[in-house]
């Protein structure tokens, strides 16, 4: 088996849980699907399942650690749920490139926002919070940037008890070559 094929297989084993489980459950069958001979499949089956799983998990932990740095308040708000959500998300998207951790954070923020919208997770303001943090990441990415967002909760404020009180806010991010700036416009709830 050529090094090219070996590396392609290894890359999938390291990053795709479903593929890894299938391969180690039945290396000959999965190997045949990839065009490997029986000998080649047998050789690769000598890989230690435990070691490969350990390495694969460590890759996700590494991604998680990097993403946490981009979404620190969301991590704090979600607690252990942050890790659980990341584990669900991590299989669906593998970032690549120089800015992969940043892309990972942006994509994971989308995932959390979607779950918060569709399934409703605690705390109720986490959907707004993750969009807020995501927008900062996006603002740092572009050299010219303008974005206007509505938030139901005052997520721009540092952690305090008021964040759980609905206080509609419009936030405007803008950036022109320098560091991004934020303009906060507060509104009142419609009178009920």
């Amino acid at each position: 088996m050529s090094l090219l094929q070996t590396q392609q297989l290894l890359a999938r084993l390291y990053t795709n849980t479903e593929f890894r489980e299938r391969f180690f459950a039945n290396p000959q069958t999965v190997g045949a699907e990839l065009g490997l001979s029986d000998d080649e499949s047998h050789q690769l089956a000598q890989l230690s399942v435990q070691d490969v799983n350990l390495f694969a998990n460590s890759l996700k932990w590494k991604r998680l650690g990097e993403v946490r740095q981009f979404l620190p308040r969301t991590h704090l708000a979600l607690g252990k749920n942050f890790n659980a959500l990341f584990w669900k998300y991590a299989e669906s998207y593998i970032p690549s490139g120089i800015k992969k951790h940043r892309q990972d954070a942006i994509a994971f923020a989308d995932f959390i926002a979607k779950v918060a919208r569709d399934e409703g997770i605690e705390p109720p303001w986490v959907g707004d919070l993750v969009r807020y943090e995501q927008t900062w990441v996006l603002a740092y990415q572009a050299s010219i940037y303008l974005r206007v967002c509505w938030f139901r909760y005052p997520v721009h404020q540092p952690e305090n008890s008021d964040i759980c009180i609905e206080k509609p806010t419009i936030l405007v991010w803008w950036r022109f070559l320098g560091r991004p700036c934020l303009l906060i416009c507060k509104g009142r709830l419609p009178y009920k």
Binding site: A11, T15, G65
Partner: protein, 274 residues
């Protein structure tokens, strides 16, 4: 063959979180190692940061994503961005890893080991030759830790490293923590390993501490340097004409004074054996 390279002393892997403390303790740090990926495709504040660092310290660029071991070849887009950075910094050397990080469109996200085969040697040397067509800065290659032992090895790890270094005429960035970690996890003798290395090619060292998890030593770059690594460093410095030593702390940062203490200990080892 690397004796003409300048002796830089003891340095620190630059992490932005330590920037203020670094400048308050400039005299304790002889040079900086920067992660190349942190300065590719960046906006002006980050470029200015690099310029400030380069004005105040000798800089050694350290790549983590070139994937020199990729059989499918190098990412030319990455090289296109890397070359101007090398020209800007004009460092005495730069470093990358003997590993691969992507294959078949999948970015693994970390340094993955290569099989110790002749084909892998060939691939790495071919890729290095291509890098040299983009810029000609002396390259040193780092040994990585590995959790997975790949089957089909035709030689030992030390023989594999030596073969690559000699065929590609590169120096060695000997990560003593990685060496210790691999020796612990895979049960081999570090002194035997050192005995097989080409002595004149060891240019720089890395060191730091890791942590144990479930009976496996992890090179997390998150802990103080353990005694075994200090001892190994002393052994290495005694054998090889090292030009620079870098403390590579990545997380769980202690007060900067503790990092300075480790740098001073490394400096003492370097001085006592030179």
């Amino acid at each position: 063959m690397f004796s003409h390279l300048p002796t830089l002393g003891v340095g620190l892997g630059f992490r932005e979180v330590c920037k203020s403390d670094l400048f308050l303790n400039r005299q304790q740090v002889d040079f900086l190692e920067i992660v190349v990926e942190h300065y590719l495709d960046v906006s002006s504040p980050k470029q200015e940061e690099l310029e400030i660092l380069a004005q105040h310290f000798p800089i050694i660029p350290h790549g983590i994503n070139l994937s020199l071991g990729s059989a499918e070849g190098l990412d030319r887009d990455y090289l296109r961005k890397l070359a101007p950075l090398m020209n800007q910094l004009n460092p005495p050397w730069w470093s990358e890893h003997i590993c691969f990080t992507r294959a078949g469109g999948v970015d693994i996200g970390h340094l993955s080991p290569l099989p110790y085969t002749k084909e892998a040697v060939e691939v790495v040397c071919r890729n290095i030759a291509e890098v040299r067509r983009w810029f000609d800065v002396p390259l040193i290659l780092e040994n990585i830790t590995y959790m997975v032992t790949l089957p089909g090895a035709e030689m030992t790890e030390a023989q594999f490293l030596t073969e690559i270094l000699e065929r590609s005429d590169c120096g060695l960035l000997l990560d003593v923590t990685n060496l210790h970690t691999n020796a612990v996890n895979h049960g081999y003798d570090v002194l035997d390993f050192l005995g097989e290395l080409p002595s004149q090619r060891v240019v720089q060292l890395h060191f730091v501490g890791g942590h144990w998890y479930d009976g496996v030593l992890i090179d997390s770059h998150s802990q103080p340097t353990p005694t075994e690594v200090w001892q190994l460093m002393a052994e290495v410095v005694d054998r090889f004409p090292v030009k620079g030593i870098v403390l590579e702390r990545d997380e769980n940062f202690p007060p900067f004074g503790e990092l300075v203490a480790e740098l001073q200990q490394a400096r003492q080892i370097l001085r006592s054996h030179s």
